[in-house]
């Protein structure tokens, strides 16, 4: 038993061994927004040693994959809005990146919308490019950009010997800089970012027991949080990061608990013989939504934490699960099915209006929201493989993110990291 455990951990503990410059996820825009903003991103001339990272190309890619921009190269005739900049080597390992966002329609004094200068080491050229994308996105859409955020997800590699390797991995939001956090021959699931983006809670089946761990993203150090008989699942951070909602069955029935991470105190929230799972906190931390089949089929319920009052939230469709709040608290993103495929939808909590976001032609699952609330990342199937998809929460955009090597599932979008 111990040897098996060691063998499994072997893969897992040696972390951050590779940091590929190539994207593990390949974004393919399948449906863009109708009113996409035309923008020209001119190549940034380089003075000094040519870095591997092409800052203008990274910005172009970010803006294009947001679905909200129609990006041109230096053909400024097609658009009045353009991005110009340059990259200047100012030391052995130092580059100065400057850019301007220009609106050619405005008169000369008003034409520069943004202008910035950054001096960064070589290794930060990608992140400064994403930061510039964030600024441009915010200037033009009025919404905070998510180009500097990260994703966590599970990669499945089917080995020739019939076994499957499960890898918990994180990458930049554009799929680059993939880093493994844990690998195992047993399943890993339900990654959840701490609100400060420094830790990830997840479920691991290593040693043929379920357990919830919290792992430090930077150091790889991890802490066993729960390993009681039966299910240990569905970890969900409270908005302030001090508590973790989770699901324990204790071999009887899955119920929702809240663990105080400071004191270690465990509080039971539901106590019945149905399936109660997938807790998710409201942005104000005063209530949680969860999935329960107490009505016969899985539906979403809300519990007010002050008085433990429970009310049913979803009625549309015979299967609603895995709810999470939009950052403004006005809507829920849910996994929904009525008679056909499983889709991701949003439920407006004021009006009760339900809207389907996905129509990829196959089942979807595991929705996770971008911290600006504009996009949902989810798992789906494409050509017989588990891939990720992205959709705008207003239904306007869809992207597909197949993995370059293996399958990818169960994503979690990080909070804002800076």
């Amino acid at each position: 038993m111990m040897r098996k455990y060691i063998a499994m951990l072997c893969m897992g503990i040696a972390m951050f061994i590779t940091s590929s410059a190539f994207a593990i996820l390949n974004l393919e825009l399948t449906r863009g927004i109708a009113g996409a903003v035309p923008i020209a991103v001119h190549p940034f001339p380089v003075q000094g040693d040519m870095p591997r990272e092409d800052v203008a190309a990274i910005i172009s890619n970010d803006l294009r994959n947001s679905g909200r921009f129609k990006v041109y190269g230096d053909d400024s005739k097609k658009t009045d809005t353009k991005v110009v900049g340059r990259v200047l080597q100012v030391g052995d390992n130092k580059y100065q990146v400057s850019f301007q966002l220009v609106d050619a329609l405005k008169d000369a004094e008003q034409s520069v919308l943004l202008t910035r200068n950054y001096t960064v080491p070589y290794s930060e050229l990608r992140s400064v490019a994403h930061h510039i994308s964030d600024l441009i996105f915010q200037q033009i859409t009025g919404m905070r950009g998510v180009f500097s955020t990260r994703l966590a997800y599970i990669v499945l590699q089917h080995l020739p010997n019939g076994q499957t390797r499960h890898i918990l991995e994180i990458s930049d939001q554009d799929g680059y800089n993939a880093k493994p956090l844990l690998a195992s021959y047993e399943p890993i699931m339900s990654p959840a970012w701490a609100p400060n983006g420094r830790k990830i809670a997840y479920v691991s089946f290593e040693n043929r027991h379920t357990a919830i761990y919290i792992q430090d993203v930077a150091t790889g150090a991890r802490r066993l949080v729960s390993q009681v008989p039966g299910i240990n699942g569905a970890p969900a951070w409270s908005p302030n990061g001090n508590k973790l909602a989770l699901v324990l069955s204790k071999n009887v029935s899955p119920n929702i608990y809240v663990l105080d991470l400071m004191t270690g105190q465990m509080m039971q929230l539901t106590n019945d013989y149905y399936i109660n799972t997938e807790p998710s906190w409201s942005p104000d931390g005063k209530s949680i939504v969860f999935t329960s089949n107490r009505s016969g089929n899985p539906q979403i319920y809300k519990m007010n934490l002050a008085d433990r009052a429970v009310s049913r939230v979803t009625y549309e469709g015979k299967y609603n699960a895995r709810a999470s709040y939009t950052p403004d608290g006005n809507r829920l993103v849910v996994l929904n099915q009525d008679s056909g495929l499983f889709n991701i939808g949003t439920l407006d909590l004021d009006t009760g209006m339900f809207r389907i976001l996905t129509n990829s032609g196959s089942d979807s699952q595991s929705p996770t929201m971008a911290p600006n609330g504009a996009m949902v990342l989810f798992g789906t199937w494409y050509k017989g493989q588990n891939v990720l998809g992205m959709a705008a929460t207003d239904g306007s955009i869809q992207l597909r993110l197949p993995a370059r090597n293996g399958e990818v599932q169960d994503p979690a979008w990080s909070p804002f990291l800076s």
């Binding site: 089946f205 299910i231 029935s253 270690g264 299967y319 895995r322």
Partner: protein, 182 residues
């Protein structure tokens, strides 16, 4: 709390061991070696051999497929989002109860599985209900609950990799796996 601390200490120790043992563990990765128990990994290996001779197609754990025709039935199938044991499976489960009653030192894992549709964590709950449904029958026959451990994989270990209803039927299952001989 005390136990949790112990677990953490053990984990750190195991991690250190793991790193130092990395070069020697490759053969231990094959769960078949040194194991005489009929846990599902043995069937994984069996399915591999079957594949090599051309019986399978694509990646397949095969624990559903290969056990379907086993003389001693270890796999029990369920309907979508249901955990009701089929009456046709009762004689086989009673036979398992008799075995466990006759071998009080024997220990088993009841694995619960679902098809890949729907929500992953809900499926973990559903898989446990399926394992529980089998366990309840065993316990009603007088089997000591200490002989039974339940482990729900939800949709994380599919029997079939495809996405047809036929594949899904193979996925929705509970597996009786011996881990300690009586």
């Amino acid at each position: 709390m005390q136990l949790k601390k112990l677990a953490q200490v053990l984990l750190v120790a195991a991690s250190v061991l793991a790193i130092s043992a990395c070069t020697h563990t490759k053969k231990n990765m094959n769960p078949n070696e040194g194991s005489s128990y009929d846990d599902p990994y043995d069937r994984t290996q069996g399915a591999q051999k079957a594949q090599a001779s051309g019986a399978g197609s694509g990646a397949n754990y095969g624990d559903g497929v290969s056990s379907k025709h086993a003389t001693s039935k270890d796999v029990y199938y369920f309907d979508f989002d249901r955990s009701v044991v089929k009456s046709a499976d009762m004689p086989a489960i009673y036979a398992k109860a008799d075995y466990l009653l006759a071998h009080p030192k024997a220990k088993i894992i009841l694995e619960g599985h679902t098809d890949p549709r729907g929500s992953r964590e809900y499926n973990v709950g559903l898989g446990e209900r399926r394992a529980n449904a089998i366990a309840d029958i065993l316990k009603a026959k007088g089997v000591n609950p200490d002989q039974i451990r339940m482990l729900s994989y939800g949709a994380e270990r599919l029997a079939a990799q495809g996405h047809s209803e036929e594949d899904y039927q193979m996925d929705r299952r509970a597996i009786f796996a011996r881990i300690q001989q009586g």
